[in-house]
Amino acid sequence: MLFFIEVLIGGLLAGVMYSLVAMGFVLIYKASGVLNFAQGSMVLFAALSFVSILAMGAPFWLALVLTLAIMVLLGVVIEKVVLRRLVNQPQITLFMATIGLSILIEGLGQMIWGSQVHGLDLGINDIPFNFYGVFISQFDLFAAGCAAVLVAGLSLFFHKTKIGRALRAVADDHQAAMSVGIPLKHVWAVVWAAAGFVALVAGLLWGSRLGVQFALTLVVLKALPVLILGGFTSIPGAIIGGLIIGATEKLAEVYIGPYFGGGIENWFPYVLALAFLLIRPDGLFGEKHIERV
């Protein structure tokens, strides 16, 4: 039983890490209705910028501020150079643009900062502590705390601020939002900058775990089933989805995996997400799309 609880807690905490990446997707999707394929590259770019600035001798907080500035700038440039020209284009066009952006950002990151693998120490010990016989990672708890703060902050941003409400209007219909005076370009720039901030947080936490290297772009693979489950438009959904995916994939790997020869952790969340799609196409917390025909 103790082992089951340990696997479950480990899974829940791993799920929080997936949610951190999923939140970046949600932000962009809420503003433009498009799955931002470049989110993984933004995570890598943020982490790579941070460690490279640190390596130049900058103190931690200065590196953090400078990286945040870089990510905000990146968001603004993406809006000005790419998205502004694609207003009112079909969503598939915007999606294709994010694929291009993904490859560009990856290449740019390695071109500017180099391809060397870096370690990243946030000063949080990853040695587990024993809680009534269950080993719990301190680092995972810290990540969960960060996710909670982010969720609270972003929820407030969406529901209590003018720009948050404008953003929801833009997500529904670009043209209608513009016709009532919502500055679409401004909203998109803000959202891409916010997604850059989320990428920075995810990049630091994942970078601390994996090392800052190219493989950071692959963490998005863990975020996709979380989005399907939680809904593409809900920040709390990203958290709940992450918890469900994290817990079930770990339990499945340990208890069902042996019957399949092991190694089911990668595809099991997608099967789960697929099953959810069939029952609830908008996910657990996604907005229902009702179209007038």
Partner: protein, 445 residues
């Protein structure tokens, strides 16, 4: 300021690699052409920059110090593979006919690309060298005349690891009743050692449990909880890329001692341990090439290319003497020795791939030659033949002390009584499938 200069240099290199498909010295008639497949971009870029850097530095050393091999200058061209099979094959096709006599030899630094080009290399008569990776049964030169998995195949490395554990336990007989977890990258690369682990378990009487890690290995907690639950005495890991630092952190997280984990050279670089931080301290790996700058050949490279502001192929001078750099230098030594040996038979002129193949099959590097090469201790003595394209089969073990790798053993030989029959059995199966007639090595000169 130096960082800015570095960034600008990097951009220039990228533009060169991107627009021209690679970098290299201009080709002239009468030169021996060596293609260099490099994964400098993408997830394996640390291998690409380090290994190709060492390889190119060594080629340039031979050119500048000796005027080439037997008076024949070496020309090289780099081709970016991004560690992808399709790009690797494209590089092979693009460069195989370059130079007055075509490509001398390919080193793809990628098991998948090596597999993908084995048949092409026979048709094109260009040898493939895969040092520490590639197709293990290609060590049987009767079936694979153009493929050379030199130094130590995956299977040889694995038997040496079991031998190392036996040494640590006080003898191979002490393995009886022990438990070893085989934690492997759940891919064809990682699964290569399942069978050989089972055979050794039977031979030595230990229990083996197999735990697969789904690639790329960014999450491994459940698997390491399973390892901890099984309470193995040792873990033998087959890992690559991001799997290594995550494995070490996960082991630490579940309380498994890292100094009981033994892995291979794909986990044995600084780039594998630095991201894991403290969790890597005590981690043990086997490699066909130790790290360090103490070897005369590395000292010579430093003196010639990295002292007094001189510029070699490495952007980061601190990486000279690192795991991947030294492996790159070994690539240079072995490939060039193949050319040198072939010149003994075919004359001091640019040679064809087929002629270089003969040289690679007749390598005989003893301690005296290693001393001349400045590589005593860096490279094991080896002898290749028509039957044996591996040549060595030994590895050294190193342990990470938190800052650097320390070599903790001399060369530990592999157990060829297990490996060789498996190689011959697997190669014979391949020969039957492909309708290949085995070469009669007694008739080869």
């Amino acid at each position: 300021m130096r960082q800015h200069v570095k960034a600008i240099r990097r951009m220039a290199r990228w533009i060169a690699l991107g627009l021209m498909g690679g970098a290299g010295a201009a080709l002239a008639a009468g030169e021996q052409f060596i293609p260099i497949s490099s994964p400098r971009i993408g997830q394996m870029s640390a291998i690409g920059t380090g290994l190709s850097g060492g390889y190119i530095d060594y080629i340039e050393l031979v050119n500048q110090r000796d005027g080439g091999v037997g008076g024949v200058k070496l020309a090289w061209e780099e081709c970016e593979t991004e560690y992808k099979v399709d790009r690797g094959v494209e590089c092979y096709e693009r460069l195989k006919k370059k130079g007055s006599t075509g490509a001398s030899v390919f080193n793809h630094i990628h098991t998948g690309t090596t597999y993908a080009t084995i048949e092409r290399s026979v048709a094109d008569k260009v040898p493939l060298v895969s040092i520490g990776y590639g197709r293990t049964d290609a060590a049987d030169g009767r079936v694979f005349p153009f493929t050379f998995p030199l130094l130590a195949t995956y299977w040889s490395q694995n038997t040496a690891q079991v031998k190392f554990i036996g040494m640590r336990e006080g003898g191979m007989d002490k393995l009886k009743g022990k438990k070893i977890a085989h934690v492997y990258h759940d891919s064809p690369f990682g699964k290569e050692t399942i069978n050989i682990m089972n055979l050794q378990a039977k031979k030595y009487g230990f229990e083996v449990i197999h735990v697969g890690i789904t690639p790329p290995g960014t999450e491994q907690q459940s698997q390491w909880l399973q390892v901890r639950q099984a309470k193995p005495d040792w873990v033998i890991m087959v890992a690559a890329g991001v799997m290594t630092p995550v494995a070490l952190k996960s082991a630490q997280k579940v309380g498994y001692p890292v100094d009981r984990i033994v892995s291979g050279w794909w986990s044995g670089a600084e780039e594998d341990t630095i991201p894991a931080g403290d969790a890597a301290q005590g981690f043990i790996t086997s490699s066909h090439t130790p790290t360090g700058t103490q070897f005369p050949v590395i000292q010579e490279l430093i003196k010639r290319f990295y002292s007094q502001g001189k510029k070699g192929n490495m952007e980061d001078v601190k990486r000279v003497g690192s795991a991947y750099y030294n492996i790159g230098v070994i690539h240079g030594i072995l490939n060039i020795e193949g050319i040198r040996v072939a010149q003994g038979k075919y004359g001091k002129k640019p040679l064809t791939g087929e002629q270089v193949r003969w040289g690679l099959e007749h390598l005989s590097i003893d301690e005296k030659r290693l001393k001349q090469l400045g590589a005593l201790g860096l490279l094991q003595p080896l002898k290749t033949s028509c039957m044996d394209h591996e040549g060595g089969g030994a590895v050294k073990f190193s342990q990470w002390d938190g800052k650097k790798w320390n070599t903790i053993t001399d060369w530990v030989s592999s157990d060829q009584s297990i490996v060789r029959p498996l190689i011959e059995e697997s190669a014979a199966k391949y020969a039957k499938e492909k309708n290949i007639k085995l070469r009669d090595c007694s008739k080869e000169s």
